[in-house]
């Protein structure tokens, strides 16, 4: 049988990078766009073909391994550059290439006027290469190549407008925080190597049950360290701080990297390693708690942010929290399901936000928007769909995955986690519809004939305008003269078509996960993943009535959140104002993101800098060099004496050497 080639999938975008580097200056914008989109489109086609081949096989044989070459081999340890397609990586590779392609197309419109158009697509293609390597790798070390590779691209793309201090700061922060996670991940992998002798998934998972005691210290430590890596890449407590700042990058980047694909890598890694994590109940408990805490905390911050991209960023952190606590309660399949649906609706939300920002001539403050529904019909309609999807209203995609996560948490007896998830769901519905209402509904709070937006709008948070002046101005400022003029109008086709496709996916994307109580047995998604994940945790299944009850509950809380958002921000804004005056302290705390960045700065960044300075100035220059120079001066003094007998320095040295050697030699011979 003619096997599909897996390596071609990451190789296509890499080839585009090479071509762009070599001939990009001769291609022009059109050529560059064609090259970049074409490569990713072809990668998508190759991925579809490979996945179809995989699906045609019987369940036990759904695994394609392809070894390219031996990366390195030292002693008894060897790593291959080798790719694996199985049902799990199949989902990831389709999402990455599919959503990636749409975002590439969108970017040709969004970035059309940027002078660094070519560099943008070069980075974007490089990102696709790294991300595909990450999901297609068949061992932890090759995964790590992709893992750090996407981190690099993220760094470059966040700091894409490199002349802007805040952008390069954010890029650097992302890379360094991720490196802290990678430090944990590397050590975790080393535990695996030391015990199993391999980094290959299949070999590690096959031997792990024999080598580790379930629940033992070693496996717990190893999985915890790996999870540290996941908290870095997937923005969980305590390493989530880089993701909100990452919004300094161009908006398509936020959609692709910081919402749909890269940030889910941590979830993917945990799901991929579920065999190991299942052996470490303590780790799972930690993951569940961290995930739930992150979901809640990020949602509370999202409630009060005014920058449209910041709201979405915190929403992403929060949704990633859901994915993790799904893994924590053992529902790995539900976690991946949410990765997929989230990729659709969150990419759509970011692209929609990008379309708004584009239409508003690079305005990101929601207090200066409003009433855009009629002016940007496609953006409005698609964005509304995504908002409903994330809020968790059936039959939209987000409902199915979020409900499954909550149901699994409930079924496994994690009632606290379940409650946190439910509370998070209310807030999600609320802040997402707050975003929707402030952006698209109500009266426009900007000058409709162009010109600059009104600063003092009929807005609940007007009082806090001053805070925005410093620190929160994550404005998508290109530096090119897109102008602040012209009326607000709908974006061009290459932006609206991707929006529409994603909107369709945000509606129907969740249907493959519909299981009980609507159909008999497992959902299609569950059955597809079964060869990788097994039949899931052995929990007593919930009664049909309970299932419906939980669904009703989650729809009810979502509806409540939506209702409150409409009431507080559309019908009677006085409620929001009153609330925020009443709870001023709380509002400030949330608005300033619990002062976590400031805290890290005070306890980590600054002390390290000060200590380093002291090490250099004191230890190196005073202590060590003090001794060295002291010896030098001493010798100088001695040689001044010796100069009476000896002329010239060289001779002095020679004499010293000879005398010294002789003395030591004699001493040794005697002993």
């Amino acid at each position: 049988m003619n096997l599909p080639m897996l390596w071609i999938i990451p190789a296509l975008p890499l080839a585009a990078v090479a071509l762009n580097l070599l001939f990009g200056d001769r291609l022009g914008k059109r050529g560059t766009a064609f090259l970049a989109c074409g490569a990713v489109g072809l990668a998508f086609a190759a991925a579809v073909r490979a996945v179809l081949t995989l699906a045609a096989r019987s369940e036990e044989e759904r695994q394609i391994v392809e070894t390219a070459w031996t990366w390195f081999r030292v002693g008894d340890f060897s790593v291959d550059v080798s790719f694996l397609l199985d049902p799990l990586s199949a989902i990831m590779v389709l999402v990455v290439t599919g959503v990636g392609f749409l975002i590439h197309v969108y970017s040709t419109g969004y970035m059309a006027e940027d002078p660094s158009f070519r560099r943008f697509f070069l980075y974007l293609n490089l990102f696709m290469f790294a991300m595909l390597t990450l999901v297609l790798a068949d061992n932890y070390l090759l995964m790590f190549v992709g893992w750090e590779g996407v981190g690099l691209c993220s760094y470059l793309l966040i700091g894409f407008w490199y002349e802007k201090q805040s952008a390069t700061d954010a890029g650097k922060k992302a890379f360094i925080v991720n490196r802290i996670g990678d430090f944990g991940f590397l050590l975790g992998v080393m535990f695996l190597i030391a015990w199993t002798g391999s980094v290959n998934y299949e070999r590690v998972f096959a031997s792990a049950p024999h080598l580790f005691t379930a629940g033992g210290t070693i496996i717990t430590l190893a999985t915890l360290l790996m999870f540290v890596g996941a908290t870095g890449k997937s923005a969980q407590i305590p390493l989530y701080v880089w993701l909100p700042d990452a919004m300094e990058g161009p908006t398509p980047v936020s959609a692709l990297i910081h919402a749909a694909t890269m940030v889910t890598a941590g979830v993917y890694m945990v799901v991929r390693s579920h065999v190991l994590f299942e052996m470490a109940p303590v780790t799972l408990e930690v993951i569940a708690i961290v995930g739930a805490a992150t979901a809640l905390m990020a949602a509370t911050i999202g409630l009060v942010q005014n920058d449209i991209k910041r709201v979405l960023a915190y929403s992403t952190v929060s949704q990633l929290g859901y994915m993790f606590f799904a893994c924590g309660v053992g529902a790995f399949g539900a976690g991946i399901f949410h990765v997929m649906t989230h990729a659709f609706f969150k990419a759509l939300l970011f692209l929609g936000a990008g379309s708004v920002i584009y239409g508003m001539h690079h305005e990101q403050d929601m207090r200066k928007m409003g009433g855009l529904a009629g002016k940007m019909p496609v953006t409005h309609a698609t964005m509304l769909i995504a908002t409903i999807a994330i809020a968790g209203i059936p039959p939209f995609a987000g409902f199915w995955s979020k409900d499954e996560i909550l149901a699994k948490a409930f079924a496994t007896g994690h009632y606290g986690i379940f409650a946190a998830g439910l509370l998070g769901a209310v807030m999600t519905a609320f802040y997402m519809f707050r975003l929707y209402v402030l952006t698209f509904q109500g009266k426009p709070r900007f000058d409709e004939n162009g010109g600059h937006a009104h600063a003092h709008a009929a807005d609940a948070h007007g009082a806090h305008m001053t805070h925005d002046a410093h620190g929160h101005g994550a404005h998508d400022d290109h530096g090119h003269d897109h102008g602040h003029g012209g009326p607000v109008k709908e974006s061009p086709w290459n932006m609206t078509v991707p929006l529409s496709v994603l909107a369709v996916l945000s509606v129907v994307g969740g249907w493959i996960g519909i299981g009980k109580p609507f159909i008999e047995g497992e959902s299609w998604m569950g059955r597809w993943l079964e060869p990788v994940l097994g039949s899931g945790p052995h929990v007593h299944h919930l009664a049909v009535s309970t299932e419906f009850g939980l669904m009703g509950l989650s729809v009810a809380v979502a509806a409540f959140g939506i209702f409150m958002a409409f009431r507080a921000y559309l019908q009677s804004p006085s409620i929001a104002t009153a609330m925020h005056e009443r709870f001023g302290g709380l509002h400030r705390t949330l608005y300033h993101k619990y002062w976590v960045d400031e805290f890290y700065g005070a306890v980590a960044v600054n002390p390290v800098y000060q200590a380093s300075m002291r090490l250099w100035r004191f230890w190196d220059e005073k202590v060590v060099d003090g001794i060295v120079n002291g010896v030098g001066y001493f010798l100088e003094g001695v040689s001044a004496l010796l100069r009476l007998f000896q002329t010239g320095y060289v001779g002095t040295y020679a004499l010293f050497i000879t005398l010294g050697v002789l003395a030591l030699f004699l001493h040794f011979l005697r002993s």
Partner: protein, 531 residues
């Protein structure tokens, strides 16, 4: 080629070239640099067979040459090459060529003497790597010092004399002790076999009471630790680097520092294995402190060259840690780190040299916004910076990962603390890069910077190639070094056991330590079963 004294030709051809360059007319700048480059290129091409003629599967020395030198003392002119010295020699000829090509326009005064000294230095370095006679080694080791001393002292910056003397004194202090230990070895050898000799392979057979080994090991280790340089003996390095001309810095970083780690691998470790077992934990912790310390201090440097110099302290800490792990991964990682550091740090110094030549400043604060002005330069800088940070896919990762893996197998705390270097390297490099390359152009002078010339691109192209080659497919390199490394490892362990057995009574506590050490190594394997 086996008939020709190939290694001798490799050592003395640059010296002959140096003499020829030295007698050219002093003001003939262009012919001088052309001839120096051609000589370095010829030497590099001539050394290339080291890559394929030195048989990868063979562990021992090849292409040996032996002549009597001082018969009374048993000193011989004895050269040979194996996987380790072969790769380091290739690094030497490559680096010298790159350094000379990079120095074409930067040396304005006394270019004749400058290029002659660089070539003479090359001869000294190659001799040090090839020689198998300890007295000869000492001669080459010291001979190497003089051209470097002059390069710093004559073509250096403002504090060049201080830096040169500091470099000289530091190294001398170490090597004098080493000489004493060499003489003692000679004496013991004569006592043992009745034949006076400085032959390294004879010394490899020499049983040494563990009680005697300690001070000799320390004497060697002190000399090598200064060269590496290991914390806290590193303070000569920042001064030497800052003051040295670019070519000097490149060679100093790429090759001279490797003399230290090479010395451990070739001499100190296999000759005095029992002392090594006693000292290894201390040396390893010093190496780990070096990794962290170098990175932290690099972070606060306002001077680009000083930053790179301190990053060298950090990277060479990795190389030392790998050696102290005493296992296959640690050794291979250490050796890869040596090569990587040669390529990446050499490239970093060249990059600093490029902007120094244009702006005559190395202060980070004097730059900013270079991407806009010199994009090609900036992209190359980016790649080199990432390789120095150890991004997977570049050379830096392979070395760091293997060292950490080797260290991890020996002791988890070693690896855990050393791995923080992975975070810290990103901190200082990215911050530096941000301040130099990103941002708006803040100094008007920088607006007129010219991007890399054709010659400069020619310098960086092979470096970039190596960065990716060694990162993506490092196996050809590993295949060449591994048999030799295995042999050193084997020999060190065998000698340790032999001498413990022969001296069991006198060194009972040491013996128990030796037996404890392999047990620690084997712990994961016992629990792990299949590897």
């Amino acid at each position: 080629m086996a008939q020709l004294p190939w290694l001798s030709l490799l050592v003395f051809f640059p010296l002959a070239a140096a003499i020829l360059v030295a007698i050219m007319p002093a003001n003939a700048h262009k012919p001088i640099r052309w001839w120096a480059t051609i000589a370095a290129l010829a030497e590099f091409v001539f050394s290339l067979p080291l890559w394929w003629r030195v048989i990868p599967g063979q562990a021992g020395f090849q292409f040996e040459e032996k002549l009597d030198w001082i018969p009374v003392l048993g000193a011989q002119y004895h050269l040979g090459v194996d996987g380790v010295s072969g790769l380091l020699a290739l690094l030497t000829t490559f680096t010298t060529l790159i350094a000379i090509l990079g120095a074409w326009t930067s040396v304005e005064k006394r270019s004749r003497e400058f290029f002659a000294l660089v070539l003479a230095l090359e001869a000294g370095m190659l001799g040090t790597f090839f020689c198998l006679d300890l007295l000869l080694f000492y001669v080459f080791w010291e001979a190497m010092l003089i051209p470097m001393y002059l390069l710093i002292g004559v073509w250096g910056g403002q504090r060049r004399v201080y830096a040169a003397v500091k470099f000289f004194l530091y190294t001398m202090a170490g090597s004098v002790l080493m000489l004493v230990a060499i003489l003692s070895l000679w004496f013991l050898q004569k006592q043992y076999s009745g034949v006076p000799t400085f032959d390294l392979q004879a010394f490899y057979q020499l049983p040494l009471a563990p009680s005697r080994q300690l001070w000799m090991f320390l004497a060697f280790a002190f000399a090598f630790a200064i060269k590496v340089p290991m914390f806290p003996l590193h303070t000569w390095l920042p001064d030497a680097h800052v003051e040295a001309p670019t070519a000097g810095s490149v060679i100093l970083a790429a090759v001279l520092l490797k003399m230290g780690t090479y010395g451990f691998l070739r001499f100190a470790m296999p000759l005095f294995p029992n002392a090594l077992v006693v000292c290894a934990p201390y040396i390893a912790w010093l190496a780990i402190i070096g990794i962290v310390y170098g990175a932290l201090v690099a972070m606060v440097q306002p001077d680009l060259k000083k930053l790179v110099a301190y990053s060298s302290v950090s990277h060479m800490g990795f190389a030392m840690l790998g050696l102290m792990a005493m296992n296959a991964q640690g050794f291979a990682g250490s050796m890869m780190t040596m090569l990587n550091h040669g390529v990446s740090t050499g490239a970093l110094f060249l990059l600093v040299g490029v902007i120094y030549e244009r702006r005559h400043t190395r202060k980070i604060a004097d730059f900013g916004g270079l991407w806009k002005v010199v994009p090609v330069y900036s992209v190359i800088f980016l790649v080199v910076m990432l390789s120095s940070v150890g991004l997977p896919g570049t050379n830096g990762f392979i070395g760091e990962f293997l060292v950490l893996l080797g260290a991890f197998k020996h002791s988890v705390p070693w690896a855990a603390v050393a791995a923080t270097g992975v975070i810290l390297s990103a901190c200082y490099m990215l911050w530096m890069f941000q301040r130099v390359v990103f941002g708006p152009v803040t100094h008007e002078e920088n607006r007129k910077l010219t991007d890399l010339s054709f010659r400069e691109r020619l310098v960086f192209a092979p470096l970039l190639l190596l960065i990716f080659w060694m990162g993506v497919a490092p196996q050809p390199f590993l295949d060449r070094m591994q048999p030799t490394l295995d042999r050193v490892l084997q020999m060190t362990n065998d000698r340790a056991q032999m001498m413990t057995a022969s001296d069991a009574a006198a060194t009972a506590p040491l013996a128990s330590r030796l037996q404890a050490a392999p047990a620690v190594n084997a712990a994961p394997a016992e629990q792990g079963g299949a590897r």
